[in-house]
Symmetry: C2
Subunit: 383 residues, 2 copies
């Protein structure tokens, strides 16, 4: 295979059909998307229409549970080891759509413990600071503050109690197989899979995890033992990767700043980065471009428009053909994308400012947050 | 060697001098005991006078810290997997003496997580129930409710946050070396050493752990990394083992009910058990006993009197010689011990009943408990 996908690394031009076979997941069929449309009585957003989410586990059962009135809940997370970029936030927009349309609870786990444990040089204080920063970006997406609980593992330590029965189900060799532990791995890292699985048991309903497909292996352990604890196997819908500016291979990486647009970049910075670094599918000369046309399938600018920044299907298809036909020049497309990205950042950053006042609600005082915190305080302390 | 001491098992007649060499600890010298007397302005209790506590790590530094006004704190614990017996409670009486005389804080960790994780057949509910029962026995010892915090790991989950930086210091091979983990060990077990070490960092002072010497290996890991976290290495004083009724070898074991007197045994039951099972150093016939004398060094009855039930030194020595001289018969000694044990149980069980009203204070509302719980509740939830 000329591509590689693990929870730590994505390399090469990913063949998503092969990945479905390799990971043993199921394609997200048109039938399931139609069902989603029907149940939500809504048009599908571009992430689903354009199969950015392309694979799933048990999403059919999630829809069935919903239809039968059993309901479900959403669970996602963020490892706070640095600033968030465009690639990080897109799945949160898909999650927001699901919450809004199905009217369900959402739990967002901020894994400051994980990032501190797995990154040798990061201090606990640093991951806690990034937790705060990242939470602002997440809130800015616009979740329902009474149906969303954003919790930091180091604060919402009740999670430890929930993780114990899980940690009795998973032995070292199982964890090693998924996470690649060695004798040098810290004992906190080895325990961490139990903390990550705990939120799938926050409610006695099926949990649906929207995440990029590279995260799938983490949930295989949960699916192995969930039913033996009297709970549901975690369901998931899997997205493709958002490529970095430097090419459609791999994924946008926070460790290569020139390939990413951060949510805190000024619109000017973002514009400069795209102009300078975005790899297109254009020809070396204007003449060749006019004659042979460009290749939108190898163009990061087109990919970004497709995944997030151009919601108008008709406009997108026209652009595709105009590029192929040589009518459109790369500079024009870049300028169009830059404007879209800058508008998005301006709006996001405004909402991010406002999020500073809402953080309290999402973490502690909103309806769902309070419900969870109250559960975490022993009987005797409650009254 | 004809004896074996590990954190899981004690076999044979223990040579405590050899154990000091093997474990690399330091003898608890008369000089240190004198110093203890001087600083506490008190007569030493029998556990120290008779060298039931016989070994230590850094106890000299603990006394130095106390003398210099830096202070120290006590830390001990209990794994709640069943009822407590006489052998379990004796170290708590020594701990109580230390708290009272030095006026220091005491943290008692009830490791319901550990017992649930390490005992395949025990449910979480069962360890929580035993936690409640065991806490009553511990409170009955008579600790200061405003200077003692008794906490259950599954409730006081703030401990997880504290354990994270510890769990980043300990790798799998270190933990394996001390705890003997294998590929089949559950990931909760592997993490547990971090939870056990956490209370040694509850205060920025030296912690003193009174415990039987078989527990010493658990603290070696803590001593390896404590200073790198800016804290003190845990200090300890080590006790010998309380033998079971069936012989002076090994230690009283909860898994062999006929060798143990439980704190919840009725005085009648306890009396019958001692009468029936206690192994003495007596001769096969009355005639031989009168002629050759008994052997108090091989007599469980004498050991129990020495360790806990005869506080009068003169009376104990007289008994020793009377036995050796053949003046005393085993039945007489047994009856004497039975009376002492029954009196102890009656008193203990009265205090245990009263403890039901005090449990709230030790766990949640006492001064030290409140201080610890407040620390554990995020800023935003406090007001």
């Amino acid at each position: 295979m000329d591509f590689k996908v693990t929870p730590w690394d994505v390399e090469g031009l990913v063949d998503y059909d092969k990945l479905i076979v390799e990971f043993g997941t199921t394609p997200l069929t048109n039938e399931l998307l139609e069902k989603t449309k029907e149940l939500t009585k809504s048009e599908l957003p571009l992430y689903f229409r354009r199969k950015f989410f392309f694979s799933h586990r048990d999403y059919n059962l999630v829809l069935k549970d919903y239809e039968e009135g059993k309901g479900f809940f959403l669970y996602t997370g963020r490892g706070p080891s640095g600033p968030m970029h465009i690639g990080h936030i897109i799945p949160f927009f898909a999650t927001k759509w699901l919450q809004e349309k199905f009217g369900v609870n959402l739990y967002v786990q901020i894994t400051d413990d994980e990032k501190f444990l797995f990154k040798p040089k990061l201090t606990f204080e640093e991951t806690k600071r990034w937790a705060y920063e990242n939470i602002l970006d997440i809130i800015a997406v616009g979740f329902d503050p009474d149906k969303t609980f954003i919790f930091q593992d180091s604060e919402f330590t009740k999670i430890y109690e929930m993780a114990i029965p899980i940690a009795k189900k998973v032995n070292y060799s199982m964890a090693k197989a998924v996470f690649g532990f060695t004798d040098q791995s810290k004992i906190g890292m080895i325990f961490y899979p139990a903390i990550q699985a705990a939120p799938t048991f926050f409610e006695k309903r099926r949990s649906l995890i929207p995440a990029a497909i590279d995260q799938d292996p983490y949930w295989r352990i949960q699916r192995d033992f969930a039913e033996s604890l009297g709970y549901y196997k975690a369901a998931a819908i899997h997205s493709k990767f958002v490529p970095g500016l430097m090419g459609v291979e791999g994924k946008m990486s926070a460790s290569k700043p020139e390939t990413a647009i951060y949510l805190t970049d000024t619109p000017e910075e973002a514009g400069k980065k795209i102009w300078k670094y975005a790899l297109t599918g254009g020809q070396p000369t204007l003449k060749e471009q006019r004659e042979k046309g460009g290749n939108p399938d190898k163009c990061v600018v087109f990919k970004w428009l497709e995944i997030f920044f151009e919601s108008d299907d008709k406009a997108l298809i026209e652009r595709y053909h105009a590029c192929k036909g040589g009518e459109l020049l790369c500079g024009q497309c870049k300028r169009y994308l830059i404007e879209r990205v800058q508008n998005f950042l301006r709006e996001h950053q405004k909402r991010r400012e406002k999020a500073k006042e809402e953080i309290e609600k999402f973490k502690y005082t909103g309806e769902l947050a309070q419900e969870q915190w109250n559960k975490s305080i022993p009987e005797a302390l409650r009254d």
